[in-house]
């Protein structure tokens, strides 16, 4: 199966290891991974701030770049949701791109239908990123009364030695929120610190998540506060556990 990797701009520039781990994982499960080099950004930073007109050319570019591929996989719930839920559907090619774009965990869980086996002897706190959870429905979430499910957690379930810690608020926002992180930095950081405290109380050594942007914000706070916790993209964790 041929898969085109859509690597969000901030992953490309700041967390290449998460992108490489995603590629590694996909290859290990039989996919031929392509990285179309013309890609840049889905336009979320502009769209999230309300600049829809500025974001539109980037949607066009995304359509063009990924046109030759049948599957587009992205190691970010937020950027995947941008394509699936926020691209202007009246633009030519957008519907087709929406239909074939999946977040990495979603792709592993729903399309490749894998349940990774491996070993990762650590206490891990799972951070549910909001857009993955509530816009892509990677999990049932705490608000709605629906049968519980959690695709990200399901991928971690078969990993030996991995202990998922209990959180008091399993799906509260970390406070990143794109431009919110800087326009409301006081509240953003308070939210992040509260999330970290929850993971600490649960005894986590590692905070794992499917969105590097949330983790970048949490990592920034952890490093500033000199805390021993570290952050890992779920792809990195799975790549390491199943190596």
């Amino acid at each position: 199966m041929d898969v085109a990797l859509f690597v969000p701009c901030y992953v490309d520039q700041l967390y290449p290891r998460a992108g490489l781990a995603a590629a590694e994982l996909l290859e290990r499960h039989g996919a031929r991974v392509h990285f179309p080099e013309a890609q840049t950004c889905c336009g979320q930073p502009m769209a999230n701030a309300g600049f829809f007109d500025e974001a539109r050319p980037l949607a066009r570019k995304m359509v063009e770049v990924f046109e030759p591929y049948d599957h587009v996989v992205c190691p970010s719930g937020s950027c995947t949701s941008m394509v699936r839920n926020h691209f202007d559907r009246s633009l030519p090619g957008v519907e087709a791109l929406r239909a074939k774009t999946r977040e990495l965990c979603e792709f592993l869980h729903d399309v490749l239908k894998i349940r990774p086996q491996g070993r990762f002897p650590h206490r891990v706190g799972l951070h549910q990123s909001c857009h993955g959870l509530r816009e892509l429905r990677l999990g049932s979430g705490s608000e709605r009364l629906v049968p519980p499910f959690d695709k990200v957690r399901a991928l971690l379930q078969g990993i030996e030695g991995l202990q998922l810690v209990e959180l008091a608020r399993p799906d509260e926002c970390c406070g990143f929120g794109g431009t919110f992180a800087v326009s409301e930095d006081a509240v953003s950081c308070a939210m992040g610190r509260d999330r970290i405290a929850d993971h600490e109380r649960g005894g986590a050594e590692i905070i794992a998540g499917a969105d590097m942007s949330c983790l970048m914000h949490l990592e920034g706070l952890l490093r500033r506060d000199g805390k021993p916790l570290r952050v890992m993209h779920v792809a990195e964790l799975l790549a390491e556990a199943t190596a």
């Binding site: 520039q13 700041l14 840049t40 701030a49 409301e184 930095d185 509240v187 500033r224």
Partner: protein, 450 residues
């Protein structure tokens, strides 16, 4: 002050912020428990949303039907275009009957219209009889939450306030004793009142009746003792039939406080014997929202405040940081309709986590509406110049792969050299350790080595 400034001030008192967050989160948790006892919860939400959608789709017809039936039941119906007209109508009703002492039960509409200061200016004593509302009225401040108006205050602060206003012993902070003191104080006000004013939770077109949901019984006392009852409602409070009410009553209190139902659900069909019932129907910007498809859903709101209780920003910034009567996600969606330029910061006072949308009992797509507002504010040039420039520059760079690569490389080199205090990211957070090579550079090498 802008929302970020007021929020930063609230966050700066770490103990209070955390206490507020916990207190409000506790209510969200109570809501979760109450909701879990209703297996058809999601279906109820859909039904409620559809009933409201239907009612809004023929709002004018239902309002006229309501008026006809309310008048037939003996009520008098008044129409107010906006807050000023509403205040004038209420004042004229009171003045014509020589009323100088009015008791009120909780009504966010009258808060929105700033009725209290208007009436006080005209020499009428207005006493809010909901305990939380009375507390904030004593403090001369607006409610910070639409269901729990004094949630921003600790019991010790209320003890001090009551010591000052009601003469309770200094240092008293026992909630039961403080409530007893307020009861005694309010009882005298009820007995002396010449008219009672309530809000309206639901107005039933089919019967012409209005329904008021309270927990303290103050609405009932305020409408049973004095002979004149004035009920003020926004146009969107209409439900078509009496039997629709069951859907909303099952959702409202569970979403608001985690109670299966409010302690009192009072139905008013016409005035009590020998009394008068006046119903004031207020537009105040609502028909403008009705005319705008992308925002229309927000008129379905039943003011349960579940979106506030679940909002991680509201819990950490406090209701007063929004600077409007209805704060939180729904308030941030509604306020810009009244004055987009004044409230341009509110749609940005959200991380767009979407919890509000999933918690809303009438399925308002709240975080999508916040995003829609961001788009509209940007399009109308109502966002700060810096943001506009950043968006233009960002879009220009990102549209060109070579330029993006260059910018990325430069950012990785030079961002760490900027003193962290100079940018909002760095005030409290470190930048990530900058990798020497981007993903795409490493990917190329990886492909080359295979």
């Amino acid at each position: 002050m802008t929302h970020p400034e007021k929020a930063a001030a609230f966050v700066a008192n770490d103990a209070r912020m955390h206490w507020h967050d916990q207190a409000v989160w506790f209510v969200r948790q109570k809501r979760d428990v109450a909701r879990a006892a209703v297996p058809e919860w999601e279906e109820l939400r859909s039904l409620a949303s559809q009933i409201k959608a239907h009612a809004l789709s023929r709002l004018a017809d239902y309002l006229e039907q309501f008026e006809k039936n309310a008048v037939a039941a003996g009520a008098q119906v008044h129409w107010a275009r906006d807050a000023d007209e509403h205040n004038r109508i209420v004042h004229e009703l009171l003045a014509a009957r020589g009323v100088t002492r009015l008791v009120k039960s909780k009504s966010m509409l009258t808060e929105e219209c700033h009725l209290n200061p208007y009436l006080e200016k005209h020499g009428i004593e207005v006493v809010d009889t909901d305990l939380g509302e009375r507390i904030v009225q004593f403090r001369r401040e607006p409610p910070s939450h639409i269901v729990m108006p004094a949630i921003h205050l600790r019991k010790e602060e209320i003890g001090e306030l009551f010591h000052d206003k009601l003469g309770t012993p200094a240092g008293l902070s026992d909630p039961k004793q403080l409530t007893e003191a307020a009861r005694g104080h309010l009882r005298a006000k009820f007995l002396a009142a010449q008219a009672g004013l309530t809000g309206v939770n639901f107005a039933i077109a089919e019967t012409g009746g209005v329904v008021v949901c309270t927990n303290e019984g103050n609405a009932d006392l305020g409408t049973s003792l004095p002979p004149i009852h004035i009920a003020c409602m926004g146009v969107e409070k209409i439900v078509p039939r009496l039997r629709d009410l069951g859907v909303f009553l099952r959702l409202l209190a569970r979403s608001a406080t985690g109670q299966p139902i409010t302690t009192y659900t009072s139905h008013f069909h016409g005035p009590r014997r020998g009394g008068e019932l006046h119903i004031v129907i207020v537009d105040h910007g609502r028909s403008r929202i009705l005319g705008r498809e992308e925002y229309r859903n927000s008129l379905k709101c039943i003011r349960c405040a579940a979106c506030m209780n679940t909002c991680p920003v509201f819990r950490r910034s406090g209701g007063h940081s929004y600077g409007v009567t209805v704060p939180g996600p729904i308030g941030s969606v509604l306020a810009p309709h009244i004055d987009a330029s004044k409230h341009q910061g509110l749609p940005f006072a959200s991380s767009l986590c979407g919890s509000c949308t999933d918690v809303c009992p009438v399925r308002i797509d709240l975080h999508q509406q916040l995003l829609a507002w961001r788009g509209e504010l940007a399009a109308r040039g109502l966002v700060p110049l810096g943001k506009r420039v950043a968006a233009k520059v960002g879009a220009f760079v990102l549209a060109r792969t070579w330029l993006y690569r260059l910018a990325g490389m430069l950012a990785r080199r030079f961002l760490p050299l900027i003193p962290p205090r100079w940018h909002a990211w760095g005030r409290q957070r470190d930048l990530p350790p900058m990798p020497r090579e981007s993903f795409r550079e490493q990917w190329r090498k990886r492909a080359g080595s295979r």
